[in-house]
């Protein structure tokens, strides 16, 4: 059986607001990703990207629908899901008073690696990201670029098959952000499944194998860049995005009596 690493079906998340009542932040979202693929969630701020990815990482519980990672359901087996998952976002910080080596070792062990395995994995990652000279310096003393490298190494400390990058380049300068995109592409080439969210068109264009355009909690288009170009007749992703999103908004205006 060909198991898809990420399967999301009819996933919804609603929340309660004192003044507005029930609000659907994510509304019946369905998609799946295969191994060795970068799947992009493209949407404006507040479109539901982060909420979707947090449900995938089991931090939020879905209101309805299912999501499976490597065949494990996020509600039934949250721990198994997280064991197979590396989650990176700007809000997932590191402990400033630990060194890079201690951080990597901690996250390898915490994600279920044995202590000896964690040790060798830690050495591997330090070599891979060129951290050797800084491995025993406290993270609070590292530069932003170095911190970012440690943070990525932390995400893949336990060598998980699925990686989630939630708007990873926010707040990074051009060079650091290109460096990060390079690493993500490398990880894809190693056969990892990458779910990547962004609101930056150029990033999505350059990096993603398939792009889902998400707006007001719903996915309105999901295809390769080529496919999106064909179906809309536009070349630039920015134009495609604007057309789709405006189409939805004029629809909803029309729908109102």
């Amino acid at each position: 059986m060909n198991l898809l690493p990420v399967q999301v079906e009819g996933l919804s998340k609603a929340f309660w607001d004192r003044s507005r009542g029930r609000i659907a932040a994510v509304d019946e979202v369905t998609f799946s990703c295969s191994g060795g693929e970068i799947f992009g969630l493209l949407g404006a701020n507040g479109a539901g990207k982060t909420t979707t990815l947090r449900m995938l990482s089991t931090v939020l519980a879905p209101s309805s629908g299912t999501a499976k990672l490597m065949g494990h359901d996020v509600c039934q087996e949250p721990q198994e899901v997280r064991r197979n998952l590396g989650f990176y976002s700007v809000s997932t910080a590191l402990y400033p008073r630990l060194t890079a080596r201690e951080t990597l070792r901690l996250f390898a062990v915490v994600n279920g690696l044995s202590e000896t395995r964690a040790e060798s994995r830690c050495a591997e990652l330090i070599a891979r990201f060129g951290l050797a000279d800084y491995a025993d310096v406290r993270i609070e003393q590292l530069s932003t670029g170095m911190k970012q490298k440690v943070s990525i190494a932390r995400t893949i400390a336990h060598d998980p098959p699925v990686l989630i990058f939630d708007e990873p380049t926010i707040g990074l300068d051009v060079l650091n952000s290109i460096e990060l995109q390079k690493v993500i592409a490398e990880l894809r080439d190693e056969g990892k499944t990458v779910v990547f969210s962004t609101h930056i068109m150029s990033e999505a264009e350059r990096l993603c194998d398939r792009i889902a355009i998400i707006h007001l909690g719903q996915i309105h288009a999901c295809d390769t860049l080529e496919g999106l170009r064909e179906s809309t007749g536009l070349h630039y992703l920015e134009d495609i995005f604007v057309q789709i999103v405006q189409g939805i908004e004029s629809d909803s205006v029309k729908a109102q009596p």
């Binding site: 997932t92 400033p96 630990l98 901690l106 915490v110 279920g112 202590e115």
Partner: protein
């Protein structure tokens, strides 16, 4: 285990790398503590010296002034006092201005309102808000009394009545407690308060950084997306706080000991004889659950707070909440053999005091240990639940199915409300005391329960009929009640008889129960109303109506046991806990099976009625009575079970009532 160790190591490593936190938590108190002791010792000795060296100035006026002077002159310490020339002064003003320490107004014999008007009266005016005035006037009074006694004795001796104290008899007191034991009692009164504050200060160093700080820095989200389970996470944090709290406390106690060994400060001399190594080990064992509870409370606060700053804000009330129960040890009459055994921290503070004074009430000490450790576990479980809450990570509250009202929300909040009501009733029962009278106590309790029921029904917009199960049962239920209730009373009496060798109920507890229940002049109909009918109605409405509905999300067995446990706890008496909880199990079963509250009301009323009016008749039931009662009970339960009603979904019925 590896994961837990790795997390704890990470936590401790970070603390050790934070020099400021270490300085504030360890070094500063280690310096400040002995310094404070030293200063207070210095101040006390200075004070004593000053009072000793002082010459007290005073004035004396009135017709018998010369007698006062004579008396003073005869006193051995008359040099301590100096009388000022009072002819030009207003004594009251001189005292107010601080020129003198006190003044003596003398009244002649026959001219005063004293108990024996045939004698002159000397009235000493002083000000208790000045040390010298208070001390001087007291010394003056004693000097006068002593010389008066001496003069009187001399006079009697001169007239041929040799009267010394030895002729009237000597009075002596002997303390049978060893020095260690009385020192132990003194120590036991306050040691828990000190240790709890040390544990709090020590634990809060890690706790605020632990979850609140991680939330703020974003490391919590990192941790929550790893494969660690929430339980392991809370366990690791809790263990870290526990370890640090205990370490810091030990360091502080060690520094105290060190300062004493170096002679910088001096502690009471009998301390060493009180604290034998066996005692210290026992004390450590007793304080373990206290430390665990404090760690849980701090962690919970930290998990609840949104930021580091907020966590520190919340610590103050938590400090007060944890310190208040330690004061139980300072209450002179508080004993472990009371409802206090069920109050976490207070029970172990009392246990420590009793152990230090040389006693060990093993079953109650064990019960205290279990209660406090249980509270610690419960709070830790709350932290685990809180970590599952989504508002930890996001600012919005994800509760689509649950508005602020409705049965689901009610079920979530019911235990919290029950706790609040219990605390109100417990406080009231302490404040009112045993002498408040039966009617006051009962009517207060019933009013609180009824008011709480009405309030919660309104607050969560619950339909009273469905929530309280106010519907008619099948006729067979009534037969079952008439059969079961009397059998239950007989069986309970048999149980008490059977268990009394194992769980002796102290005589005074029984006597107290009798006297509060039966004021001698209460008419019988009133007793019946107050002790049988009203409790049956009110308690059934609250416990088997509201509470049982609120526990609706659990399995029937859990609902029965939990509601019975709470019913037992609400009776505020250790010795009535088991019987009332047992009755609670029966009544909850009756309600769930019959689908109606009314049979339980009748059962409860019959049960109490027999207890009030026929208690003598059923004491020590015979073997035949027990067999009959067992059969009766079995028949009643069978009848109820056969006629059982399917539980209808209260959510649907309640919401339809809300709309109407």
């Amino acid at each position: 285990m590896t994961v837990l160790r790795a997390l704890v190591a990470c936590e401790l490593r970070q603390l050790l790398r934070s020099p400021r936190a270490l300085f504030a938590a360890v070094a500063l108190p280690a310096l400040v503590w002995p310094l404070m002791l030293l200063i207070s010792q210095f101040v006390t000795s200075q004070q004593e010296e000053r009072l000793e060296a002082a010459k007290y100035l005073f004035l004396v006026d009135g017709p018998s002034a010369s007698i006062a002077r004579e008396l003073l002159a005869a006193a051995p310490n008359h040099d301590d006092f100096d009388e000022l020339d009072g002819s030009q002064r207003d004594a009251a003003r001189a005292l107010a201005d601080g020129e003198i320490q006190f003044w003596v107004s003398s009244l002649a014999a026959g001219g005063n309102e004293a108990s024996d008007p045939s004698l002159p009266l000397f009235r000493v005016y002083f000000r208790a808000d000045r040390d010298l005035s208070r001390e001087g006037s007291e010394r003056f009074r004693r000097a006068l009394v002593e010389s008066r006694n001496e003069i009187r004795e001399n006079l009697l001796a001169e007239r041929g009545f040799p009267t010394t104290l030895s002729a009237t008899g000597l009075i002596e007191t002997r303390d049978l407690a060893s020095a260690a034991e009385s020192m132990g009692l003194q120590l036991g009164r306050f040691i828990s308060t000190i240790l709890v504050s040390l544990l709090m200060v020590g634990g809060s160093v890690v706790a605020s950084d632990s979850l609140a700080g991680e939330k703020e820095r974003g490391t919590l989200e990192t941790l929550l997306t790893t494969a660690v389970s929430r339980t392991t996470l809370v366990g690791a944090k809790q263990l870290s706080i526990f370890i640090v709290a205990i370490s810091i406390t030990v360091v502080q106690l060690f520094s105290l000991w060190l300062y004493q060994a170096l002679g910088v400060i001096s502690l009471p001399g009998d301390l060493a004889s009180t604290l034998t190594s066996g005692r210290i080990a026992l004390l450590l064992l007793l304080y373990l659950p206290v430390a665990a509870l404090i760690a849980s409370a701090l962690l919970l606060t930290s998990a609840y707070a949104k930021s580091y700053k907020e966590a520190q804000l919340f610590y103050f009330p938590v400090f007060v909440l944890a310190l208040a129960p330690t004061l139980a040890a300072a209450l002179p009459a508080a004993s472990l053999r009371s409802i206090l055994v069920l109050v976490p921290i207070a029970n172990l503070s009392l246990a420590v005091k009793e152990v230090l004074a040389g006693g060990l009430d093993l079953p109650f000490v064990v019960a205290s240990w279990v209660v406090t450790a249980g509270a610690a576990t419960w709070l830790a479980a709350l932290s685990v639940r809180l970590l599952g809450r989504e508002s930890l990570i996001t600012s919005v509250e994800f509760e689509p199915e649950q508005g602020p009202t409705g049965p689901n929300r009610f079920r979530r909040d019911i235990l919290r409300w029950t706790g609040v009501i219990w605390a109100i009733l417990l406080t009231a029962s302490f404040l009112m005391g045993a002498d408040a009278g039966l009617i006051t106590q009962l009517s207060f309790n019933f009013s609180v329960l009824i008011a709480a029921t009405l309030f919660l029904l309104h607050r969560y917009r619950l339909g009273p009929r469905a929530t309280l199960r106010l519907r008619l049962p099948k006729p067979s239920s009534w037969t079952a009640v008439l059969l079961g209730a009397p059998s239950g009373v007989v069986l309970a009496a048999g149980l008490v008889q059977g268990t009394s060798p194992f769980l002796p109920i102290p005589e005074e507890a029984l006597v107290q129960l009798q006297s509060t229940l039966f004021p001698p002049d209460t008419p019988a109909w009133r007793l019946f109303l107050l002790l049988a009918v009203l409790p049956a109605v009110v308690e059934e409405i609250f416990f088997r109506g509201l509470l049982l509905s609120g526990l609706g999300a659990r399995t029937p067995a859990q609902r029965i046991l939990l509601s019975a446990l709470l019913f037992g706890l609400f009776h505020m008496s250790f010795f009535r806990f088991l019987p009332t909880a047992g009755l609670g199990v029966l009544l909850a079963f009756v309600v769930l099976v019959s689908g109606s509250l009314f049979p339980a009301v009748l059962w409860h009323a019959i049960h109490n009625g027999i207890g009030v009016f026929a208690a003598e008749g059923i004491e020590d039931p015979s073997g035949r009575a027990l067999v009959l009662a067992t059969l009766g009970m079995a028949g009643a339960l069978l009848l109820l079970w056969k006629g059982r009603v399917r539980e209808e979904e209260p959510r649907a019925s309640a919401s339809s009532e809300t709309i109407s």
